[in-house]
């Protein structure tokens, strides 16, 4: 049981308990193309994709306690797999999308096999080294990945059937892609939620809390960690596939370590002890990025500064801070009544 469970089951007021907040958020997000500007839809697409990416990382970071500094490798593998299939081979999206997840999972299986054999600190180093290897391959393998030119002009999936849906008769392709992305991300998040609540997910959490004890009661810790690594890699690959189409191209930059930093900071900014922490972090960071990059090109500097503040002042992230504040308020209220 993670902090979020404990917090919500004790804290919620009767009324707020009966409102399905998750559904409300997704329905509100689905209204963005109808009430917001094109720019809002653009941001919304990016936030949805980054949220899935961050949630996939948190499956390692928060759920299993594995610190991966190279999660971007699987995001990139997914992006390249989907891009190459759709652009070079003309494969339809509905085949290329799951194939991207599969390719990323395979990559995670190979690299993860080496990484989980080692202790935590080695694990962090190796994941970074492997992600730089993937980056070097993407950067140099001109024939397949386009090298430093990347793969521009990745086609949008064929979403013309959506015109038949009510209210979408005059929607732009970007709107339709946003709605499809939102639906796919919602399904993926639901799957990750199920996984973290399954017996398998509980095992991962027990490994996080006490690996020695988990091994002692007969759990094959390395196998579970590898499984978590592969599942997280697969979801990162799905996010990458969507990101490539969203950006109309796949470039070696996607696999660069700075992207790993970004998703890691999203996860911690939102709060890695909560399922909804990473999506909140994704929302905050994408918005912040838009605001800040209009003033300065030194975005990594800002990221580093945010990370320092988080480390020293708010280790629980945004959701952690809100939950703590909520508890405090309730506590004071209860004390006041009594």
């Amino acid at each position: 049981m993670t902090g979020a469970d404990v917090a919500l089951s004790h804290v919620s007021w009767p009324l707020s308990r009966r409102i399905p907040w998750t559904l409300v958020v997704f329905l509100a997000a689905a209204c963005v193309p109808f009430i917001g500007s094109r720019y809002d839809t653009f941001l919304g697409t990016q936030i949805a994709i980054e949220a899935l990416f961050a949630v996939s990382l948190n499956l390692l970071l928060g759920t299993t306690g594995l610190v991966s500094f190279g999660h971007v490798a699987y995001f990139g593998i997914g992006a390249y797999a989907c891009g190459i299939l759709m652009k070079t081979y003309g494969v339809p999206f509905w085949v290329a999308f799951p194939a991207a997840g599969l390719a990323a999972a395979l990559g995670a299986l190979v690299f993860g096999y080496f990484c989980v054999r080692l202790s935590k600190i080695y694990f962090a180093m190796l994941t970074l080294a492997f992600s730089q290897i993937v980056w070097a391959i993407c950067f140099k393998w001109n024939d397949v990945t386009g090298g430093d030119q990347g793969l521009p002009n990745i086609p949008y999936p064929d979403l013309d059937w959506m015109v038949l849906l009510p209210g979408l008769g005059h929607s732009s392709i970007a709107d339709r892609f946003y709605l499809m992305t939102l639906a796919l991300v919602a399904l993926s998040l639901a799957a990750v939620w199920k996984i973290t609540r399954s017996p398998f997910g509980r095992m991962l959490t027990s490994i996080r809390d006490n690996p020695e004890r988990a091994a002692f009661i007969g759990l094959n810790v390395r196998a579970y960690e590898l499984a978590a690594f592969v599942v997280a890699g697969a979801f990162a690959g799905l996010a990458g596939a969507l990101f490539g189409i969203f950006n109309r191209g796949v470039f070696a930059d996607y696999v660069f370590w700075a992207k790993s930093a970004e998703v890691m900071i999203m996860t911690i900014l939102g709060g890695m002890n909560y399922f909804w922490g990473p999506p909140v972090g994704a929302f905050a960071l994408v918005w912040l990025n838009q605001e800040i990059t209009s003033y300065t090109e030194y975005w990594p500097f800002v990221l580093g500064a945010i990370l320092l503040v988080l480390l020293y002042v708010f280790p629980g992230g945004i959701v952690g801070g809100v939950v703590a504040g909520y508890r405090y308020a309730r506590h004071r209220l209860a004390a006041h009544r009594a």
């Binding site: 610190v67 080496f114 080692l118 080294a129 480390l311």
Partner: protein
């Protein structure tokens, strides 16, 4: 294949190896004593390179200004390292290792952009010090004197460092700190000062190697991450926290990189990755490392 070609590949590999040793030894030392993986070690290396360039410009671009510039760069980076350890890093020792990793990661982001802000994104270069400007012929291959100097220096630092660690009182303290920090603390040693000192020495080595590399490769943004990944691979091969492991790891890395170009032209780094994978399967804790969990 001509013997002279093979020999010049060998010498090239040896030069790479000695640079890598200078860098990776600092990384390995800090890990051995403090159990902290310093992602920012590559950033210190990069700062050393930029500071050396800056000092050469201030003093005089030609003439023997390279030596004081290199020393200045290394000393400044050592000072920066000591300040960072003293003011920021030490408050994280009691926390999970994730927080220490993230802290050094934040430094990478901040220092990388700071260097970009100050020195721009173009490539900078420093010419070789005139006294070592020449080259000699060895077995039919041309070997620059500067490369010979770097090799000799690397070897001297390896032997000197080993003598320091094994033979002097300070070295004993450092080794004791790596075994059991609390016990050493209880015995009245100033462990905080040892940690600061080690971090400064490690930063000094990073800054020095950054300064020394400037006559051979251009100074560009991004050199920090490139080198830290290579240093990680070296310590993975040799064994993290093992002094001689780092030394042999660098030598092997250098030769594999140098001769790998014959197998994978255009992508010699691939042979190094293959080597790392093999070592990870056979000895996950590295050639001379001890299993740590």
């Amino acid at each position: 294949m001509a013997a002279s070609f093979l020999f010049s590949q060998f010498v090239g590999g040896l030069t790479t190896a000695m640079f890598l040793f200078l860098i990776a030894s600092g990384l390995s030392l800090v890990f051995g004593v403090m159990r902290v993986i310093n992602f920012a070690h590559g950033s210190f290396y990069m700062l050393g390179a930029y500071l050396a360039w800056q000092m050469v410009q201030w003093l005089h671009p030609s003439g023997e200004t390279f030596w004081p510039a290199a020393l200045f760069a290394a000393a400044s980076v050592a000072l920066l390292g000591a300040i960072i350890e003293r003011v920021l890093l030490r408050f994280l020792y009691g926390r999970e290792e994730l927080y220490q990793l993230l802290f050094t990661y934040a430094l990478v982001l901040i220092l990388g952009d700071a260097a970009k802000y100050v020195w721009g994104t173009g490539q900078l270069s420093v010419s070789r010090p005139p006294i070592l400007g020449g080259s000699i012929m060895l077995f039919g291959a041309t070997v620059p004197l500067y490369n010979l100097f770097v090799m000799a220096l690397g070897l001297a630092i390896a032997v000197g460092g080993w003598r320091m660690l094994s033979g002097t009182g300070a070295g004993r303290m450092v080794r004791a700190a790596s075994y059991d920090r609390e016990m050493l603390d209880a015995l009245g040693a100033n462990v905080g000062a040892i940690y600061t000192g080690m971090f400064a020495v490690s930063s000094f080595l990073a800054g020095l190697s950054g300064a020394l590399v400037t006559p051979i490769v251009g100074i560009v943004p991004g050199m920090d991450v490139e080198i830290i990944v290579q240093a990680f691979i070296v310590v993975v091969i040799g064994g993290l926290g093992s002094f001689w492991g780092t030394f042999w790891g660098s030598l092997i890395y250098g030769q594999v990189l140098s001769f790998g170009i014959l197998i994978f032209p255009g992508f010699s780094l691939f042979s190094v990755f293959a080597l790392m994978a093999v070592i990870l399967v056979v000895r996950p804790w590295g050639l001379l490392g001890r299993p740590i969990r």
